[in-house]
Amino acid sequence: MQSRERVNKTTTNRIALGVIWLAAIATVGALGTILLYVIVNGIGQLTPAFIFSWPHGVNMEGGIWPTIQATLYVTILAMLITTPVAVLAAVYLAEYAVQGRLVQIIRFAADSLASVPSIVMGLFGLAAFVEGMGMGFSVMAAALALAFLLLPIIMRTTEEAIRAVPKYIRWGSYGLGASKWQTVSRIVLPSATPRIITGVILAAGRAAGETAVVIYTMGTMINAPILPTQPGRTMPVHLLLLAQEGINLPAAFGTALLLVLMVLAFNLTARYIVSRNRRMLG
């Protein structure tokens, strides 16, 4: 039978493949370009002295150590506050809540919370924690404001992770006379843990890179905070101010590179945990 197609199948196939390839290359290319740009401009700065010393003058010289300390501090504190709440909320939503209107509303609220612009979250943190609760610019105020930003992210990834645990594994547990909580705590959560950890680490990357929230809640003061009541300047904020003032662009790129490397390390750790667990279980 004669083909009626105007363009034959092989050709359309090639065109489709070409377009898909272009899209893939554009994605990888965008990441590569950014990384390359930051590396080329920042690599010269990355000396132990830059990482471990304090800035001096009007930030024209010296290193960025206090900003690294402030960043790690606020990130870890935010994760410590958020993770238990988010995981328990997700367990409730996925395992206990009667699936219906209320759960849909909670989920919609979480998704909406996740899409609130971070500058708004910063403003909320300023009003609620810094001023309202009188915490002042502090690591604690920033960690709490970040918690609002991270809560829905960790909650949703945990919920997905819990739902991904196959029904027949749960049934195996129930079939042995396990109660709901025994099944959730001994089978479901351990099975979901690699994916939960992945979600938590990705959220940590988000927290470490957050600028708008922390600038309003822990200020811009160069300080190596020890107590959660102290203020500080995180790396993204430092980067913002350096670039804005234009006085020390090399230091800005050095900070940018270090920040990118930090977040990259978070992501690689997440991938490693997932692959290691897959090996152990498979």
Binding site: S173, G175, L176, P190, M280
Partner: protein, 274 residues
Amino acid sequence: MSDTLASHMTGVIPTDNHANKFSVQKLDFFYGDFNALTDITVGIKENAVTAFIGPSGCGKSTFLRCLNRMNDLIPGTRNEGRVLLDGNDVYAPGVDPVDLRRRVGMIFQQPNPFPMSIYDNVAYGPRLHGVRKKAELDEIVEASLKRANVWKEVKDIMGRGGLTLSGGQQQRLCIARVLAVEPEVLLMDEPCSAIDPTSVQKVEDLMAELKDRITIVIVTHNMQQAARVSDYTAFFLQEVAGEPAHLIEYDRTASIFTSPRDRRTEDYITGRFG
């Protein structure tokens, strides 16, 4: 009461020395508005193997899950009628399905080891129920794996993940896991349909060994398997799509396979449909 029941059941069971472990009376089962099973009355004999046969979608797996209230886990399901275990209604208020499922264990079509070591898989049930001592657990684990015909294959790799085993070994591991809580009844939902022939043989062997002490109910699509392993056979059929399924005939396996009383049973067994 369980013995008098036998006389007015669908398909009269010849009187014999087996008592009824389960007596099901006029059971109807619903998925939402859909009436999946209707008017099921049957006595399941203690310490014997009963096979449920019938075409796909005839409700035999659904009925199996009624016996240990596994259907409770599926939202929107309900049932009418009574399911008596040793004379007590398992759906009575105050009955904890968690306790029931410990007495009535279940094996699924898809082997479902937990993502933990072989040892921990088998020790899971006893630990749930409060066994803590290492020596005691070791003993239970070994005995259960032996009864499940898988001990020789796993005794040197107890620390390895249960999911690293072959499908057939996984299924026997799951059987060991159930045996470790010493159930009185073992419900097996097509336990052999996803495993290799050598393992099928081993599972059939262990069923023969276990039935001295355990009541076994097996759902199977394999007529030869039903004939080989079971003492009693129940034939289920949904005659019209969308209508509930019925229990058509229930009798000693030998009678069902040599001289079925119902034409539909005969047609199914001889492969005329299904």
